[in-house]
Amino acid sequence: MPILTANRLVKVYGGEPGAQVRALDGVDFAIEPGEFVAIMGPSGSGKTTLLNILAGLDKPTGGQLVVDGQSVETLSGDALALFRRRKLGFVFQDFNLLDTLTLAENVALPLTLDKYPAREVHKRVEDVMARLGLQESQRRYPYEVSGGQQQRAAVARAIVHQPAIVLADEPTGNLDSASARTLLETFSSLHESHGTTLLMVTHDALAASYSDRVFFIQDGKVYSRLDRDGPRESFFQEILHTLSVLEVKCHDIRPTRP
């Protein structure tokens, strides 16, 4: 049974008929447990809107979204917040760590908010930070460590409560190439050895090549889909190829995000 099912998701912005923008125009896809999926698309294709809806930050105008057996569009307000807290993990482009908390405290936040016993919080935080190579920096503050370490702390925070799925929004966007590579390898290893389900939105073909499957979206629709069945390098080539086809089609050279 899929862990996330998007069924004909539609999102329309603007009230008046003439000024309406269809940011999502019937998006369908499903993610199975343990999958690592990437979503690619040029800017303006609806990536961010899709992610906001998947994260329960925005409401779809139409369609259904089911995450871990729960249909998200029926939830609202605090119920939605609690749903995110327990079922989802987030990794942002700009890390979004709280400056007032140490890395360990940042990682512990989802658990402490849910009032886990102190000993368990401590154990889980130790575990997950060790797994991500952050033992040394536990007591450091976010601005005292490198961007790569900040992002790994953010990943630790996203998985510490063992969510059903981890959503990553351009996680490598603010990192140098070495840190980006380390992060992507971290994702792969989480996916391979711990069976973590990951959904990553990116415009970087290299980042996407670490996943099992790539959905390309364009004009608010899933335009095509690419499954990996070989080494990463050839998958990378395939992604580049698909992108070039997309570019020719829409004259959008190398989509970038601010």
Partner: protein, 651 residues
């Protein structure tokens, strides 16, 4: 878009930022304008006013102007700091420092113009009401006619235009001197985990403690010189600042290691982080609040003491003294008859025998005290009579203890600045010419049981045991034996005015209430003080408002991030409630402590009998009520301004 349009848009589109500033400035303009309308009112200048009232209002007006200078500078600086990023960006885009200066000047001209206009308008609207209230307080026979003299327009406008111009020029100068990097990154470059120093924390507590000690224990001595006062204030202000930056942060950091829930962790860490930024503002608030509360508390308290003082100065409605050489033309029965006939209605009638004498402490001229000697039982009769006639001051008249033979009590009947001279003091008592006897004066008490103002016999009493008194009276020459008659009445206002004239003034005292014009003048002072307090309250509110604005952008980002992780509104609300409580009520607690100490000090200096506390505490409570209202308003509106759930403001 022209330069002028840019300036206008800057102001109009940031009205949130400017509204507090405009409110504060225009209230100051309004208050000064109203005060000046009183001062230059033709009826006041020409007129039938107690001369002091005009002076009080004039001085209050200057206080308003002086205070406005400070807070206008302070708030404008704070506002420009909030816009640092914007200025930095403009500089990066190529705006020259000169243009920036011009922009700031033109912006301030615009806002200050609005403030001045609004202030004058509201001043105009409220002047009539103000004049009515002042006239009422001064118990004037007729209303003060409404007038808005040219002179008051002129003074108000000149004062504020000067302040605004100076202030605009200074701000422009300061903004020109800052580089774009400083402006752009000033909020980001100062990120360090808080490290409170235990040493400084200790120093802060010591500063406040020493300040308090000087104020309470060394009260009169410290205040003899102005330096003493300045030292106390400096110590307390420095101590307050250190309490915020060090003590509070230290406590928060300790707490942080212990908290277990996410909400508590968030709250404590945010507070610890921000306390250093808040400290200056919170110190200003605590100091201002202490000033307001002390000022209002002492003034109102003083007024109530002044009113209570009537009884304490003249406990009996009528009191006469007589002896063989100084007979009175009317008997006491006569007096009682007159009082009853006029409707004053005698409730108690007492008499007493007192011996004129002197008390010699040690040797030499300095140790000689003229006293009136009374027996303990007589004195207690008077005390009992006062206790039953004036319940509200009964606490000031405790029963006197029984005295052993050869022992006495010295009663300093004018408690103002009478030093305490007697505790188990050996002294020589002389009654008449030279019948010296040795007594031990156990202690000195301060209360007035015989009316003030008769010069026939000494004001200060020596209470001796009944046995001693019988013996002294037996050996005293007849000329030194005096008899007193005292009456308490039900309606003090009905005592006939002619009563006093029937006797020599040295032998009679008729109680009169405190001069009404004095109370009226004092009420005017309090009334104008109220406006200054209002200004200061607004300034406190404004300071807090700026702190909140300062945090808003950052909180928006932080709370949206937290919301993604899945924090509920209730949890965020709890974080804010605790944080706001600390910001709003911690300064109040400190200020209340400072104010209470200041009032204790004032109590010592005042040295008048009477209760100051009920009124002073009422002032504290009123202040607290204001803070509670402001807290609730901020707590409700703040989260809405963060746009926590707006997906388009993802970051």
């Amino acid at each position: 878009m022209t330069f002028g349009q840019l300036v206008r848009k800057n102001v109009v589109r940031q009205k949130r930022l400017y509204i507090g500033y405009i409110a504060s400035s225009s209230v100051s303009v309004m208050i000064l304008f109203m005060f000046m309308n009183f001062v230059y009112n033709p009826a006041v200048v020409g007129g039938y006013m107690p001369a002091g009232a005009r002076m009080v209002m004039l001085v209050s007006g200057w206080l308003v102007a002086l205070f406005s200078v400070f807070f206008i500078f302070y708030f404008h600086t704070a506002m420009l700091r909030l816009r640092g990023q914007e200025f930095g960006l403009l500089q990066v885009l190529g705006m020259t420092p000169k243009q920036m200066g011009r922009m700031v000047i033109r912006e301030s001209a615009m806002i200050d113009g609005v403030a001045l206009g609004l202030g004058l308008l509201f001043g105009l609207l409220f002047t009539k009401l103000f004049l009515l209230a002042v006239g009422d307080l001064l118990v004037l026979p007729m209303e003060i006619p409404f007038a808005v003299p040219a002179k008051s327009w002129l003074v108000t406008c000149i004062v504020f235009i000067l302040i605004f111009a100076l202030e605009g020029a200074l701000m422009a100068f300061r903004i020109r001197r800052r580089g774009p990097k400083h402006l752009l990154f000033s909020s980001r470059s100062r990120q360090k985990p808080p490290h409170p120093s235990l040493l400084l924390a200790g120093l802060g507590v010591v500063c406040v403690a020493v300040g308090y000690y000087l104020a309470i224990a060394q009260s009169v001595r410290t205040l003899e010189t102005l330096i003493g006062l300045v030292v106390i204030i400096a110590l307390v202000v420095i101590g307050t600042y250190l309490i915020y930056t060090q003590v509070l942060v230290w406590v928060l950091m300790r707490l942080r290691g212990r908290v277990r829930t996410g909400v508590a962790l968030l709250t404590v860490s945010r507070l610890a982080y921000r306390m250093k930024d808040h400290a200056r503002a919170l110190t200003v608030i605590a100091t201002l609040s202490a000033v307001v509360m002390t000022g209002a508390g002492t003034m109102l308290g003083f007024l109530s003491v002044l009113k209570q003082g009537d009884v304490v100065r003249q406990p009996f409605a009528v009191m006469t003294w007589t002896n063989v050489n100084h007979p009175l033309s009317h008997t006491s029965a006569d007096l009682a008859h007159q009082l009853n006939a006029s409707g004053a209605k005698v409730t108690q009638e007492l008499d007493a025998t007192a011996l004129a004498g002197t008390l010699q402490k040690g040797t030499g001229q300095r140790g000689v005290y003229p006293v009136s000697v009374v027996s303990r039982s007589t004195f207690q009769r008077f005390v009992t009579a006062i206790q039953s006639a004036h319940k509200q001051v009964a606490y000031m008249y405790p029963d006197v203890p029984k005295l052993a033979v050869g022992h006495a009590l010295y009663v300093a009947s004018f408690p103002v600045t009478v030093p305490n001279e007697f505790h188990d003091t050996q002294a020589k008592l002389t009654v008449g010419r030279d019948n010296a006897a040795s007594v031990v004066v156990d202690r000195q008490i301060s209360e007035r049981t015989f009316n003030f103002g008769t010069t026939a016999i000494s004001d200060n009493l020596l209470v001796v045991s009944d046995a001693d008194f019988r013996h002294l009276k037996a050996i005293a020459p007849p000329a030194s034996i005096w008899t007193a008659h005292a009456f308490t009445v039900a309606n003090p206002t009905k005592v006939p005015a002619t009563m006093k004239q029937q006797f020599p003034s040295s032998q009679v005292n008729v109680a009169e209430p405190t001069d009404q014009s004095l109370v009226g003048l004092f009420s005017t002072m309090i009334f104008s003080g109220m406006f200054i307090s209002l200004m200061m309250l607004l300034a406190c509110g404004n300071t807090l408002y700026f702190r909140l604005l300062n945090n808003r952008a950052e909180d928006g980002i932080q709370f949206r991030a937290l919301r993604r992780i899945g924090i509920t509104h209730r949890e965020l609300g709890r974080v804010l409630t605790v944080e706001f409580s600390v910001m709003f009520f911690f300064p109040f607690v400190l200020a209340a402590m400072h104010a209470i100490v200041a009032m204790i000090d004032f109590r010592h200096v005042l040295a008048l009998p009477g209760r100051l506390w009920p009124v002073s505490l009422a002032v504290l409570l009123a202040y607290l009520a204001f803070m509670v209202i402001y807290f609730i308003a901020a707590r409700i509106t703040y989260p809405r301004q963060l746009h926590i759930d707006d997906p388009r403001r993802a970051r």
